[in-house]
């Protein structure tokens, strides 16, 4: 009896400690987490705290200085490039290690190691099946072939690891304590994985399956009207009328081509189609100071910690400032003492899919050009959180990996589809940024971007000497009309990418007559450009930007900041007046009359306080549904829907168009009938919204609910219902979880002046005041002044915390 009691009383504390020392399902390891000596309490830091300290640092070649300014932005002053990138890696890891670790684990398909969840496993399999690791490996091979990128990526990696080695249980970032795992050493491959993750965000959106289905469901004629190959209106990046006086590369075109078969719903992780960006540069003749001004705001997922990390890099021979990507050396969007540069996504289609016919169930060979070609097999080992291993065999063809087959995509579907993706090709994008960081003039800029192949970007440029320029840069395949817009036949050589557009033939313009250059993810050139420009293009922001810039003169940096926050809804201005005219007022219920009255007095500005934008959104969305759902709403064969501007133009000019009629009803509907039906739907959803939101009015900021979410999707670590305007298709393209992830304005006078802000903060530690210090400011459209100090002394005089490092 006494013995049993002893065992019981001994077991109690042991059981308690063992239970709460590890993670149980989604529950954190409570003991470890709550322990004030080493748990999360140690991540609580005061306002003036910066992680780590100065002193002797193993791996440094010469003395160097790291100054944190009053906003906690690091300014690094090193005597050589090696120390510079070493300290960039070191400083970035101090603030953002968990983010770097999580993002690269995600890209490698390794999240299942730390998170036990079937959706996470499916996503891991997708990352592996789409060859993210192969892409990263080929990127590293290309980096290794160049001495400058080799040096940068090696030094950066050593810097990250120097910080990881300084960590102990107590100083681990908060999220490691919550999820109960530890950081692993950083590798060069992780730098490659991070760049591939960006490629995936920017070129991974694909509609080829859905477009195949749309074509087959609509038939040739209706499809051609609803999916025009050339945009109907708009304002290309390179101004219309540019002469393309070169011999275009010719390719062979098959005599006939039609999409082959209807496809089932195949799993593909959503990549936000609203990822996009604005950039523009106005020349001195349009500015008040007479100096060029460059502006850029990339619209990407809004996350905490932010995708971007602001930093100054002074390397002895060069000096630059801007937004860097945690995990990659150099600065991606920024400026130096002579020039400024920025990017928007080219949105060209460089991701295609091919039907694969295997010889037999062994899948050792596939049909190609009338013969059988050997496949290669790769067995992916995915370690799971419980210690077991999930095996997945991926088959590789010369096109790329067979993403969809009997093991993945759709249960019971007999097809096989391989992926051809530019991000798999060997390329050295990092070199472009290292060269841009050092560029002094237009020629340097052109040389720097020539190394850039994927994801295709619109590189904008402005220089102190007065130049402004923009180039759509990337390695784009030459395609015949329709090629790669559907699932192609993998056995036909003519369906492949046969050649690439030479760099010199990519659309570009320097100091155009109109006095500015700009891009907003629209199509790059007018129909005089002798290549197929297939891609996914935006149709409203570019027109708004170009119209307004055309009108502006005597521009100041403040004007540019105000314009980056412009909330004018051109889409509504284009279509709403005609939609209102179609309505039969006698048919409106009193509630609908109130909605319409709100729309009629609206100035088309999506400001935070307005209620009309929510009514417009609901009505427009219901109209799209009412027009398209009968033809393209198949649940078994998901189909692409026409772009808003195509539907809008049909509504405007052809109210009796065949697509408008609802085929599920016996009568024939015209625009008026459809718009009334859509208004009923909008009224219903608005009433529902009001009910779900405690009877609140659908003010735009409440309805849009701009949310900056923590990477682990923990609401208490993020911010929601930010008080601001904007929407997709608006210059201030802030919509729910997507928006201006970094806003920058640079004036290139004798002394370069710059302003910037991003929704987040420099620190990745949710226990620091610097974790979210810019969120409110960003929402309000305010900016920080960015200081490019000429010397360490200048930074030290203004800085808040100074870390001096000596080699060990």
């Amino acid at each position: 009896m006494r013995f049993i009691r002893l065992v019981l009383l001994l077991a109690l504390p042991i059981l308690f400690c063992v239970t709460f020392n590890s993670k149980r399902g989604i529950l954190p390891p409570f003991g470890k987490l709550l322990d004030p000596v080493a748990g999360f309490w140690q991540n609580c830091v005061g306002e003036n705290h910066v992680p780590g300290s100065g002193g002797s640092l193993q791996g440094l070649k010469s003395a160097a200085t790291l100054v944190y300014d009053e906003r906690h932005v690091p300014h690094i002053f090193a005597q050589n490039d090696e120390d510079l990138y070493f300290l960039q890696g070191y400083a970035t890891a101090r603030d953002r290690l968990f983010q770097m670790d999580l993002q690269t684990r995600a890209a490698a398909g390794r999240l299942s190691e730390i998170i036990d969840n079937p959706a996470v496993l499916r996503n891991d399999r997708m990352m592996r099946r789409q060859g993210m690791m192969e892409g990263a490996e080929s990127t590293i091979r290309a980096m290794r072939a160049d001495p400058q990128t080799t040096l940068a990526v090696e030094a950066y990696t050593r810097g990250v690891n120097a910080w990881i080695e300084e960590l102990c249980t107590k100083s681990l970032p908060f999220e490691y304590k919550l999820l109960n795992f530890r950081p692993e050493p950083w590798t060069e491959l992780k730098c490659g994985l991070l760049l591939k993750l960006m490629s995936r965000d920017l070129t991974g959106h694909t509609t080829d399956m859905e477009r195949t289905n749309a074509h087959l469901l609509l038939g040739d004629s209706l499809f051609a009207q609803l999916f025009p190959t050339n945009p109907l209106d708009g304002s290309p990046i390179v101004p219309s009328g540019t002469d393309y006086a070169f011999d275009p590369v010719k390719i062979d075109t098959p005599s006939t081509f039609r999409p082959l078969e209807l496809l089932p719903s195949l799993y593909y992780p959503e990549i936000d189609p609203h990822n996009g960006s604005n950039n523009w540069a106005v020349s001195g003749k349009k500015t008040k100071s007479g100096h060029p001004i460059l502006s850029n705001d990339p619209h990407l997922g809004l996350r905490m910690p932010s995708l971007w990390y602001e930093i100054q890099l002074h390397g002895g021979t060069h000096n630059c400032y801007g937004a860097s990507l945690p995990g990659a050396p150099g600065i991606i969007i920024g400026f130096n003492e002579k020039i400024a540069w920025g990017v928007t996504n080219a949105s060209r289609d460089v991701l295609d899919w091919y039907h694969i016919e295997f010889q037999d169930a062994n899948r050792n060979a596939y049909k190609y050009n009338g013969d059988w070609r050997k496949t290669q097999k790769k067995v992916e080992e995915i370690k799971l959180a419980d210690g077991s291993i999930y095996y997945d065999t991926v088959i590789y063809t010369h096109h790329g990996p067979v993403v969809y087959d009997r093991n993945f995509g759709q249960e019971g579907w007999p097809g096989n589809i391989a992926m051809r993706w530019a991000a798999h090709d060997s390329s050295n994008e990092a070199l472009t940024f290292l060269l841009l960081n050092r560029a002094q003039n237009y020629d340097d800029y052109r040389k720097a971007i020539s190394h850039f192949t994927c994801p295709g970007q619109n590189f904008i440029f402005a220089a102190q000497d007065g130049d402004v320029a923009i180039t759509q840069q990337g390695r784009f395949p030459v395609k015949w009309p329709g090629q790669g817009s559907y699932i192609m036949d993998g056995s036909q050589p003519l369906h492949e990418w046969q050649a690439y557009i030479p760099f010199a033939q990519n659309p570009t313009t320097r100091n155009p007559e109109r006095g500015f250059v700009s891009s907003a993810n629209q199509y790059p050139a007018d129909s005089a450009y002798p290549y197929n420009q297939a891609g996914r293009y935006e149709h409203f922001r570019n027109r708004r930007i170009n119209t307004e810039l055309e009108k502006m003169n005597g521009i100041t940096p403040t004007d540019m900041m105000t314009f980056q926050n412009d909330n004018y809804n051109l889409k509504a201005a284009d279509y709403l007046p005609v939609m209102l005219r179609y309505l039969d007022r006698k048919k409106l219920s009193p509630a609908q009359q109130a909605l319409i009255a709100d729309l009629e007095k609206w100035n088309f500005v999506n400001d935070a306080e307005q209620t009309a934008p929510a009514v417009w959104e609901e009505w427009w969305d219901a109209t799209r549904q009412a027009i398209c759902k009968d033809e393209l709403g198949s649940p078994t064969h998901p189909a692409e829907w026409p772009e808003s501007y195509v539907l809008g133009n049909i509504l405007l000019s052809q109210p009796n168009h065949a697509i408008i009629d609802d085929k599920t009803t016996p009568e024939v509907e015209d625009a008026t009938a459809i718009l009334h039906r859509a208004l009923d739907t909008a009224e219903f959803y608005l009433a529902e919204w009001k009910q779900e939101n405690a009877g609140k009015e659908w003010k735009w900021f409440e309805y849009n609910n701009v949310t900056v979410q923590h990477l682990l999707r923990l609401a208490p670590l993020g911010h929601d219902h930010l008080y601001m305007g904007g929407n997709a298709s608006i210059v201030n393209a802030t919509r729910k979880n997507t928006g201006a992830s970094w806003r920058m304005v640079v004036e290139l006078g004798p002394e370069v002046k710059a302003w910037g802000v991003y929704p987040g903060g420099p620190s990745g530690n949710p226990g620091s005041k610097h974790y979210d210090s810019y969120v409110a400011q960003w929402a309000a459209g305010q900016y920080n002044e960015l200081h490019l100090y000429r010397s360490a002394e200048g930074a030290k005089n203004a800085g808040k915390t100074i870390h001096e490092f000596q080699p060990n």
Partner: protein
């Protein structure tokens, strides 16, 4: 041994052990003093609980007051509690207290088992 002296001993040993051992050292500290005290189980639980509650809660409170960090509020919300750092100070103390109390109880029982005649 007086109750408060026992509490102070547990706190001191727990503090020293946590310099180089993980959080469960607080249970070990409770067990050590529990063994040495020669007192009963329930009294030991109370001493162990009080000691580690005070140790952890006061430590956490000091961090909260000195840093003004927003993290305690956020962690409380992550754990589905009201977003209040002071509440989390109490939860932290309570959690550590249980570990310390159970440890102290076990320590007393070991003493009782190995030398039953000497108790009381």
């Amino acid at each position: 041994m007086k109750f408060w002296i026992q509490v102070i001993w547990i706190m001191a040993i727990a503090f020293l052990l946590e310099l180089f051992l993980p959080w469960w050292a607080v249970a070990l500290a409770g067990a050590m003093v529990g063994y040495l005290s020669g007192l009963g189980r329930w009294r030991n639980f109370k001493a162990g609980f009080t000691a580690i509650f005070l140790f952890w809660a006061l430590y956490a409170l000091a961090i909260l007051l000195f840093t003004h960090s927003p993290l305690p509020d956020r962690v409380a919300a992550i754990l589905n509690l009201p977003a209040n750092g002071f509440l989390l100070v109490l939860v932290t103390g309570f959690f550590g207290g249980i570990a310390g109390g159970l440890g102290a109880m076990a320590g007393a029982e070991i003493r009782k088992f190995s030398a039953p005649a000497k108790t009381r």
